[in-house]
């Protein structure tokens, strides 16, 4: 009993001790838990300091990147005007309707109900839906542009029914003269991948840059400088407020030396032929007054949206409407090159005004026969007559004497054979062959017969209409090495022009002798272009015809009496004419090429007559061009 009680007491003591131990265990473990809690709090505090102090600056930048959106403001493209200030390229207001897909409850339904208010084809709707699938949902999509003011008003009134829809006004390049300036002014188009360079403005949606012509050549001047708006945006990309704005700077106004009205006249005159090109420039200053290529295209289609079939037709047309033939078309200069040959003969002393050659219609060199264009020949021919009647034999003999080297030298002096630093990017260099060139070209030595062929502008020779106009100008302006230009700024910077073009190494006497021949071409009873004569002596013009062989008529065909007119259009000869007016004090020079126009006197000379007459009437040279 006693031991039982003792046992019980012992047990109870042990239990009490255990209980106290248990409380101790709790205290100890509570302390561990508390330590863990404060340890973790310390970790959190440390992490916070790590993010906010150590990396604070970096995260601050990231935060700003999140919220600050740099919006580029597109500059307004500079206008292009002619020498009188008449606009050739302007910016028209273009009203558009846009939709933000994420804000539209049902995109397709919205478009369908919109089609009740404005004209909207099924194709338009499908293209918007297609685009909506491709791009992020908050980027506005253009539904239709070029809306009338009435359309805009109708949409604006119903805007509450069209969530996510909005109208805005953009700029669209427009060319008031249309086809007439299609090649020379060029057109603008969307930036493609290769063109995106350093200028970030190019990546702006809808931004356009010059693709051809002056629009391309002077794109940087016309483009202007972008502005920027710093805006705060929320996570959805919506603008919350504007932080900072720098306005864009509009592009420069570009004045071209062209006479827009003369340009239009010339273009319309050329359009009477299947394919033709013409240049009118100032013989003394080099200012280009008109530079046309026909057929052309409507450059406004490039900015408004080119219908696919029109584009296909342009590409397929054998008359190459997309090419500026005045500077990129390279033709055998044909008989217009006799100007070069004649000057070469005079400069080298092989001919003078009295030297005569007898033309029997054929010229024998070794065992080769070279025919004059006139069967039976021209009889006795002097320099003036050789130009007036365009006798080939005269030049065959001359060429044999002087050789290709001298001919090529004169040709280059007169502006042939290399690009003229003209203001358009499409300019081609033409070709003046010589012995060295041929070696490099096909490794063969030059044949004397090739010199004979070159003397009448055939064979390897190639020249652009612009080069032919320059050649003529350098003859009739008293021997100054004029270069063609359209912008005064370019003239001053690129050509280092100081007011006068350098005098070439030619004598005035020789130039006068050639000019007499050129006068006879049109104004003498024997002249090849006498049919195009201007009767008013004040306005009369001179020049030189040319007929470029495209395909040699075989002897068999010649015997069968087949004429060039009977051949297919693409096989007919090119018709050329270079001219100047007025006779007494030459101011305007022109070069005309009618592709497959059969004969220079037949198709090219009448055009030259008309445009030189119009140029003299309008007299654009009387207006001094401002810079």
């Amino acid at each position: 009993m006693k031991s039982f009680r003792k046992l019980a007491r012992q047990k109870s003591r042990r239990a009490r001790k255990r209980n106290i131990d248990h409380a101790k265990v709790f205290s100890r473990r509570a302390f561990v838990i508390g330590a863990a809690q404060f340890g973790l709090l310390g970790v959190l505090g440390g992490r916070l300091a790590w993010l906010q102090v150590v990396h604070g600056a970096r995260y601050r930048t990231l935060s700003d990147n999140n919220r600050i959106d740099m919006k580029m403001l597109a500059p307004v493209r500079g206008e292009i005007v002619d020498r009188f200030g008449v606009p050739l390229a302007v910016n028209n207001q273009n009203f558009r309707v846009l939709i933000i897909p994420e804000q539209a409850k049902n995109l397709e339904q919205s478009l369908r109900s919109l089609s009740k208010h404005i004209e909207l084809s099924e194709k338009d709707i499908q293209s918007v839906l297609k685009q909506a699938k491709k791009t992020a949902k908050f980027i506005p999509i253009e539904i239709k542009d070029d809306l009338s003011w009435e359309d805009v008003a109708r949409i604006e009134v119903n805007l509450p029914d069209f969530p996510g829809m909005s109208t805005d006004v953009g700029q669209r390049r427009s060319y008031p003269l249309g086809e007439a300036t299609a090649h020379v002014v060029g057109y603008v188009g969307a930036v493609n991948k290769e063109e995106i360079g350093d200028d970030p403005v190019l990546s702006l949606p809808g931004f356009k840059i010059g693709k051809t012509g002056a629009e391309k050549r002077f794109d940087l001047d016309l483009r202007g400088q972008k502005g920027s708006a710093e805006v705060e945006v929320n996570v959805a990309g919506r603008q919350v407020r504007e932080l900072n704005t720098r306005n864009s700077r509009a592009g420069d106004r570009l004045m071209l030396s062209l006479d827009g009205e003369l340009q239009r006249f010339t273009q319309e005159r050329l359009a009477k032929e299947r394919s033709a090109t013409a240049v009118i420039m100032d013989a003394h200053t080099g200012a280009v007054y008109a530079l046309c290529s026909s057929p052309a295209f409507d450059p406004n289609l490039f900015t408004a949206g080119m219908p696919a079939d029109v584009w296909e037709d342009l590409l397929a047309d054998p008359a190459h409407p997309l090419t500026n033939k005045a500077i990129a078309g390279q033709y055998p200069p044909a008989s217009t090159f006799k100007i070069v040959s004649a000057l070469t003969g005079l400069r080298t002393g092989h001919i003078n005004s009295k030297r005569v050659t007898h033309c029997r219609g054929v010229y024998n060199y070794g065992k080769d026969k070279f025919h004059c264009w006139k069967r039976g020949g021209h009889g006795w021919v002097d320099l003036t007559k050789s130009l007036a009647v365009s006798c080939d034999t005269f030049y065959y003999e001359l060429a044999t004497d002087v050789g290709i080297g001298k001919i090529a030298e004169t040709a280059r002096m007169l502006g042939l054979g290399s690009a003229l630093d003209f203001d358009l990017p499409e300019e081609r260099p033409g070709l003046v062959p010589d012995k060295q060139w041929k070696m490099g070209y096909n490794g063969q030595s030059w044949q004397p017969g090739e010199t004979i062929v070159a003397s009448i502008g055939q064979g390897y020779l190639l020249a652009t209409p612009l080069q032919l106009a320059v050649m003529t100008a350098r003859i009739v302006n008293g021997g100054y090495a004029v270069k063609p230009w359209m912008t005064k700024r370019h003239l001053l910077s690129r050509h280092h022009f100081t007011g006068n073009w350098p005098k070439m190494d030619v004598s005035d006497k020789h130039l006068a002798q050639i000019k007499k021949g050129l006068e006879y071409v049109v104004n003498h009873s024997t002249g090849t272009a006498k049919g195009s004569k201007i009767d008013d002596p004040e306005l009369a013009f001179g020049g030189k015809t040319g007929t470029g062989q495209v395909r040699r008529i075989t002897m068999a065909q010649r015997r069968a009496g087949i004429k060039n007119e009977d051949l297919d259009w693409v096989q007919r000869h090119h018709a050329l004419f270079v001219g100047y007016a007025p006779l007494k004090a030459p101011r305007y020079v022109c070069a005309v090429v009618v592709e497959h126009g059969i004969g220079g006197s037949l198709t090219a000379a009448p055009i030259a007559r008309d445009i030189l007459l119009e140029a003299q009437k309008r007299n654009p040279a009387s207006v001094v061009m401002e810079i």
Partner: protein
């Protein structure tokens, strides 16, 4: 089980009010006020829609807290099992409603608030374990059979919560339960063994238990930059917001990440980020210190109690509260994967506010009735 000193329980409510931890009350009000300020800012400088409702809830919750505090701990002891099984019942109800209704559902609409039974269940689990361990001896705690029932007490709600599926809450219940095992004197080896078992189970859980969105959260946590616009977006933006706050903060109502909505769920799970973006390191650390003071109160109340129920209950609730704090803040800082867990007293939400205040009420009740006789 007699005690050497026995002070008569004071049933005068006025005297009891004096014994409330007024320091803790002030602390709670301060933390809640920070929450109101953050919610005011989250709404762009408006009391609506969040701050005003949160303030109203807080007053209701504070009254509930005082009532809970003034009720004798004995009553809470007796109410433990009804509370636990009531909570389980509600969990089953949401589960059934979730199946009947549309998709996963975690709450019951009471009209004035949406009650999440899982939040209340966390308290009930702590109460149940405290009650179970109340009479346990050290020897009991070392007997593995003795621990089967408390293990079931934890696992029953865990299973139901995981069905919702709410892995975060389930893990919190497990962690709080483990803490209670620990404070009640379970062998250290038990924890080592459990830790080893969990490590072994992770690949299995990954394969068979975790949902795709949960796996994605873990993957994103491990490499948030891999998917900056997708699942990693939350955490990336949260870190940017925190970091951009710097020491001084962007200023009240000036947090651009939150104001411009780059920060997701800024009024609920990511509210700490909003606070620290606008108030900087100073404000962030201040809030951490305030939470630390709450922990100290919890520890003090637990150590002062003379009965195990009070000790375990107070410390268990304190651990529970701190788990919320740690998990939420660690999550928004990118220390752990995103597990939808609110920051107690700060995040917008009725249930978590109510749960926190009831926990504080219970802790105060333990404090007031530290010497009550709690019997089986």
């Amino acid at each position: 089980m007699s005690r050497p000193i026995s002070i008569q329980s004071d049933h005068n409510p006025l005297h009891k009010l004096q014994q409330i931890n007024w320091g803790l009350v002030i602390l709670i009000c301060t933390i809640a006020s920070i929450g109101f300020a953050a919610l005011y800012s989250a709404a762009g400088g408006n009391f609506d829609p969040w701050a005003s409702r949160q303030i109203a809830r807080f007053f209701v919750g504070v009254i509930a807290m005082f009532i809970v505090a003034l009720i004798d701990i004995k009553w809470w002891f007796r109410l433990t099992w009804p509370a636990y099984f009531g909570g389980l019942f509600l969990l089953v109800i949401v589960e059934v409603m979730g199946h009947v209704g549309m998709g996963a559902q975690r709450w019951i609409d009471l009209g004035f608030m949406k009650l999440q039974p899982s939040e209340m269940m966390k308290i009930a689990v702590v109460m149940a374990l405290a009650r179970y361990f109340n009479a346990a001896t050290i020897d009991d705690m070392r007997r593995i059979y003795f621990l089967i029932i408390p293990a079931l007490i934890i696992l029953a709600p865990v299973a139901l919560v995981m069905l919702q599926p709410d892995l975060g809450t389930a893990l919190m219940i497990v962690m709080a339960g483990a803490a209670m095992f620990f404070m009640a004197g379970a062998s250290i080896w038990l924890f080592i063994g459990a830790g080893a078992a969990v490590t072994a189970a992770i690949p299995i859980a990954w394969q068979f238990i975790m949902h795709d969105y949960q796996k994605q959260r873990v993957r994103t946590f491990l490499n948030p930059e891999s998917d900056p616009l997708g699942a990693g977006y939350h955490i990336t933006q949260s870190k940017i917001a925190l970091g951009s706050g710097g020491v001084q903060g962007r200023g009240f109502l000036e947090g651009t990440q939150a104001r411009l909505n780059f920060l997701p769920e800024k009024e609920t799970d990511f509210i700490f980020t909003l606070w620290a973006e606008e108030q900087g390191l100073i404000g962030g650390v201040l809030l951490l210190v305030l939470f630390g003071l709450v922990f100290i109160y919890g520890l003090r109340i637990a150590l002062r109690s003379r009965h195990n129920y009070g000790r375990y209950l107070a410390l268990g609730l304190c651990v529970n509260f701190s788990l919320y704090v740690f998990i939420n803040i660690a999550m928004v800082m990118g220390l752990i994967p995103v597990v939808g867990a609110p920051l107690p007293m700060i995040s917008y939400g009725g249930t978590s506010m109510l749960a926190a205040l009831i926990s504080f009420g219970l802790m105060m009740s333990v404090n007031i009735h530290y010497d009550s006789k709690v019997t089986r």
